[in-house]
């Protein structure tokens, strides 16, 4: 499983971090998302998918 993020879409809402703090974080200087782990374990799949669904700009894509 691989997570792809489009930082140009990110508006720093932080919903991904709330859904999945082990996979997503926000840059201090501008609130834009960055990945802690681009290739999550299978057990982290559900929370990765939840983060993708909750993002209000659909900036996160999960590639299986």
């Amino acid at each position: 499983m691989k997570i792809a993020i489009d930082t140009s879409k990110c508006i720093g809402a932080g919903l991904c971090v709330v859904a999945s703090p082990e996979l997503f974080a926000q840059r201090d200087e501008d609130g834009i998302v960055y990945l802690i782990n681009e290739h999550p374990d299978p057990q982290q799949g559900d929370s990765a998918r939840e983060a993708a669904r909750l993002c209000p700009t659909l900036a996160i894509t999960i590639l299986d």
């Binding site: 879409k9 508006i11 720093g12 919903l15 501008d30 669904r53 209000p56 700009t57 659909l58």
Partner: protein, 409 residues
């Protein structure tokens, strides 16, 4: 403890309230009633990447059906509240159901404002629901000209998508500038220039005198100045009105929306309201109360109302309002409310990206950032902490505004 919470409204606020109630370990029954036929879904993409056809319906839904089953949130779609029997603590639905509540939450949102006097005509669209977005998506490939009535966020996001697809777009608005209700002059002008550089034509300070039509299909717009704008499709995007009617008929206090107190409670102890439909006391609003039509507001109120209803919090602690819009390759982020600003100071890096700082007298009340997410994050902290920011600080490009944060720590 409330044994049964009924949430009227399956939008952002209603869905997140249900989610946060379970996150707060609320053990009672939760019933979520949505008027639309879909499970709760994201609205922002409807005027952006969904409209462009770059994402599909399956990516819009907040959660699949299995999520609601797993968390024991009963969801009924296609259900509209027609009346509230406050004495019996029951809601009556349009389809004849009678549903009892221990506590009722009105997350009924708003609906598109209609153009007065317009009868049913083909090729006239509005944009708020997935269905409306699907209709527009279906038509965009076949049209050459579009006229948008309303230069607010939805109208401009649509215009931006249409222009990218080579469609000739005319935008009409009675105001003298774009996004007049929400954005100050400097940023409005920057967006106007950007849209115009992509071929969009603006007709500002112009009303819509009439919709031109032939055989039941709209063919264009005649402005109050007498100019005729031919169009294959017309988008009416003149704002929304809060759905207060059911609350008003039930005797709840309404104003600019359903009035709520510091607990997001209506004038009925067993009914709360939040999101696009709710009018609350705000220290950020120029006249002390506001109703915010935004995803961040729905999220913030849902999170805190869940804590209040679960008995974990006693009042709503208002968070700084913020907002975003994507148009014409520009990312606009707004911290605070711009309506109260009477002067603006700009700060730019010289590459087209800039931020406009709005002051009410000497007090910073809003910051509008265009492709400057770093400025936006600092602005949220400055405004959220009430830091003292003077126009001179902003006007000096060598002054690091973060120093003003340290001063309040």
């Amino acid at each position: 403890m409330i044994d049964r919470i009924v949430i009227a409204g399956g939008g952002q606020a209603g869905y997140q309230l249900a989610q946060f109630l379970r996150d707060q370990q609320y053990p009672g029954a939760i019933l979520l009633l949505g008027e639309e036929p879909d499970l709760p879904y994201q609205r922002p993409p409807l005027s952006k990447i969904y409209l462009e056809g770059k994402s599909g319906p399956e990516q819009l839904a907040f959660q699949p059906a299995s999520y609601f089953q797993r968390r024991e949130i009963e969801v009924r779609t296609g259900v509209r509240i027609a009346a509230i029997d406050r004495h019996a603590r029951r809601v009556h639905t349009a389809c004849g159901q009678r549903i009892e509540y221990g506590h009722l939450v009105l997350a009924v949102g708003a609906r598109n404002r209609e153009l007065p006097g317009l009868g049913p005509l083909q090729s006239v669209h509005m944009l708020r629901t997935r269905r409306e977005a699907d209709e527009l998506r279906g038509r965009l490939p076949d049209i050459r000209r579009a006229t948008v009535i309303g230069a607010g966020f939805i109208g401009l996001e649509f215009a931006s998508v249409a222009a990218s697809q080579g469609i000739a777009v005319d935008v009409v608005d009675t105001a003298a500038r774009l996004m007049q209700r929400s954005v100050g002059q400097p940023v409005a002008e920057a967006f106007q220039r950007r849209h115009e550089s992509r071929g969009v034509r603006f007709h500002l300070a112009s009303g819509t005198a009439r919709i031109l039509s032939e055989h039941g299909r709209a063919t264009g717009v005649e402005t109050s100045a007498g100019e005729r704008l031919p169009a294959d499709l017309i988008l009416v995007a003149i704002g929304v009105v809060p759905n207060v009617e059911v609350a008003a008929e039930a005797g709840l206090a309404i104003g600019n929306g359903i009035l709520v107190d510091e607990r997001l409670r209506t004038t009925d102890e067993h009914i709360s309201a939040l999101g696009d439909c709710a009018c609350f006391a705000s220290r950020f609003a120029p006249n002390g109360r506001c109703r915010l039509e935004s995803v961040p507001n729905a999220m913030s109120q849902a999170r805190q109302l869940a804590a209040i209803l679960a008995g974990k919090a006693s009042r709503y602690e208002e968070e700084l309002p913020w907002f975003w819009s994507d148009q014409a390759g520009l990312k606009l982020q707004i911290a605070g409310l711009s309506q109260g600003a009477d002067s603006w100071v700009e700060r730019s890096a010289g590459d087209g990206a800039f931020s406009a700082y709005g002051f009410s007298g000497h007090r910073l009340v809003a910051v509008e950032s265009v492709n400057r997410p770093g400025d936006h994050v600092i602005a949220k902290r400055l405004l959220g902490t009430g830091a003292r920011v003077a126009p001179e600080h902003v006007a000096d490009p060598l002054f690091d505004l973060r120093h003003l944060l340290a001063a309040t720590a």
